[in-house]
Amino acid sequence: MAKSEPSTRKKRRLDQKTAQTSVESLRAAGGRGAPPAMRTNESTPQTVGSPLPQRTAQLPTPVSLMQVRRTQALRSHQNALLELAKSNAVHSGDLTRALQAITTAGGRALDVERMSIWLFQNDRLSIRLLDLYELSRHSHISGTVLEARHYPAYFQALEEEERAIAAHDARRDPRTCEFAQNYLIPLNIGAMLDAPIRRKGKVVGVLCNEHVGGSRSWSVDEENFASSLATMVTLAMEAAERREAEQALRLAKEAAEVANRVKSEFLASMSHEIRTPMNAIIGMADVLWDTQLNPEQRKYLRVVRRAGGSLLSLINDILDLSKVEAGHLELDIVDFDLSDLIDKAIEILALRANEKGLDLACHLSADVPCKLIGDPNRLHQILVNLLGNAIKFTDKGSVVMRVTVDPEVATAGAVRFSITDTGIGVPPDQCETIFDSFTQAHSSISRTYGGTGLGLSISKHLAQLMGGCIRVESEEGRGSTFHCTVQLAIQSQSTQPETSAPKLTGFRILAVDDFPINLVILRETLTSWGAEVMGADHGSQALEEITRAAAAGKPFDIVLLDCRMPEMDGFEIATRIQTSPSQGRPLVIMLASDRWADDIARTYDLGLAGYLVKPIRRSDLSQTVSIALDRAKGVPPISKGSGQTSPPRSTSSLHVLLAEDSPDNQLLIQTYLKQTPHRIDLADNGQIAVDKFRNGCYDLILMDIQMPVMDGLTATKAIRQCEQQEGWPPTHIVALTALVLKEEAAKIFEAGCNAHLTKPIKKSTLLDLLSAYKGKLHT
């Protein structure tokens, strides 16, 4: 409590009294245009501009004067705090600006000459002045340091006091009297109100209010106000730290982006530099492969070629990814046919799907424009990657690609490819991360299924470059659907009809397949070519349809028959059609699978109109149907490729290993191949075949199953094991056997054979088989 008031303080109070004690002046202060600190309590009833009430003429009592003053002071404090709370300065993260705003507003509201903010130094042995506001000079200074050892009582009080240190007479107060000689007397400071600044329960600094002149009695309201200002300092410090952290994060992010760009550019450049010599290494290894080598040398060279191929493929992936990430990948803009592109992608994957016994099909909706403009190579890359993944992660069931107009985009040329498999699926929490580079759904995946995890990432980037995206819907253990959308342009002459499509108007066709999507594909494709198409999903239904159509006088012209169906297979239906007494039998085209080389052979044997190897491709279907119709009309077929019963045979050479114990059959096969460029090695039993395989290099192995010493199944297993151990690519093995029982066939495929051929082997069947494999080795 101050014992004597200095003249300035007294004068100010008198001035205030003169100005504010009359109710009229209070009203004026509370009216519009007065500073906020001067406004009266808004709960007081009043009407601006209305006549003053009678009691305004009465003199105020001392009690009411105190209340009015307190109200004024509180309002002033509240307004200052409100102003600070709204102020950008406090929350800006700029600590200097924030502290200046606090000392300025606080000093004015508390009516003290000096308000300062001090923070403990790290060693907590001193405090440092961050800002001092002097009311009369309107100036801010900073930088002074006070050491604890010189003012022990004050520092102790700071640590121990719960509330603000309210030193009404600072020169006598035991907590502050240490400052008297060096500080209080020279600066004429009479009272101090110091509020500790706390963070997380710890005192980190102090907000000091210094009254110049005599002592001053600090009210509880003033103490509270000082404490509130100290809290405001805490908020400002936190905002500053937040800004500092954000800045650090931004800098780190910018640095990371720069580093990533530099990395991508480096990788792109390095990959290119590596690829050039790699091509030379692989090329020379290929040349060396065709020279005379002993078995040991050939074995080493095989490792070089395989490792070289894998490395080149990886480098190409990295090159693609880094090009995309560095923004260097530019897409071609050329005309292409979507249907052709899909056929090519399917063809590449057909062998792999066949080997795993998977149904692979592609359904291209009729409303999807096919004459498009874009980058066919990159689109092909995406489709091969997505289809390849689907096949890779599916052990049983099917992989189906549906191509539709993107339903979510109104622009013409927006196409959606949805690839659905019945494979292992993707766990829900990894549906996003599988698109990251070098990431697969499980770490065990790469061990089990191989791969770097780059393909999906590249495909996603490519789809984005094409104005689309890739997303996945999946159920673990049930399968996945990958949706890829792209935005392409449509060729201006795209309204022209498909020139290669056969004209089937007036023809009636029956499609028979137990795999529903194949029926949909056949029905839609053939209908779009003008045919009237019926479908049947099993043999007896097919025979009923054929009989009914014939009875109605509208027999089918063509029947497309799936070779393998439960209950009644395609050949049984074909035989029944051929032996039926009715006139005008339909042309029969078989839907075969590469896995069953027999199916193709049987098509020849039965003299049917042709065959299609699944998955069904539009171009193959078009050719096969056209050739079959031409043949029926007596027009000689024009050799175009697969589908006709006399496909062209490749002239390039295959190296074949024949494992066969019968010398007569060895001689027969050798005779078959005498006039072809293919080379053949003989093995009298399975053991010799395995030994020759280890030391030689073969494109294809013909494996008799029943042999002495080691049978064909054991030899095949040994070869597959050897390939796995050595990391060699799998060689095609075709089982030769007279057995046709289902259980026996299952054993053959389980052992690792890729296809099955029934003895006796016809020359044409064998040459077709070699031709087909030759074609595949080149794709």
Partner: protein
């Protein structure tokens, strides 16, 4: 393509084959004649496993050379050996021997 003319035991059986096989067919038929002797010996020694193997080979090879009858005989021999059916083995061996005596090959495209 195989065409059997006449059904009596003495008539010739003419088989039309691809000329590409002209070099190897005589050897194939000669080997079957040796098989007849081998099987006859095996029956006496009760070596049914050898008969089964020879029957199996005939079944696989005959059709490839164009002799469907040899394939058919081979299949029965293989099964008979598995059943230890000596009577059928003797019967089919005799049938094979008869076929080999009467067969006449014509090479024709």
């Amino acid at each position: 393509m195989t065409t059997i003319k006449g059904a009596d035991a003495q008539s010739r059986i003419t088989v039309y084959l691809d000329p590409d096989l002209e070099d190897i067919v005589p050897g194939f038929l000669e080997n079957r004649r040796k098989d007849v002797d081998t099987i006859t010996g095996c029956v006496e020694k009760n070596d049914l496993e050898t008969i089964r193997i020879l029957g199996h080979r005939m079944k696989g090879d005959g059709g490839g050379y164009g002799f469907e009858s040899i394939s058919a005989i081979g299949e029965v021999l293989e099964q008979a050996a598995l059943r230890r059916d000596h009577a059928t083995i003797r019967e089919r061996t005799s049938e094979l021997s008869s076929f080999l005596r009467r067969v006449e090959v014509v090479y024709k495209r």
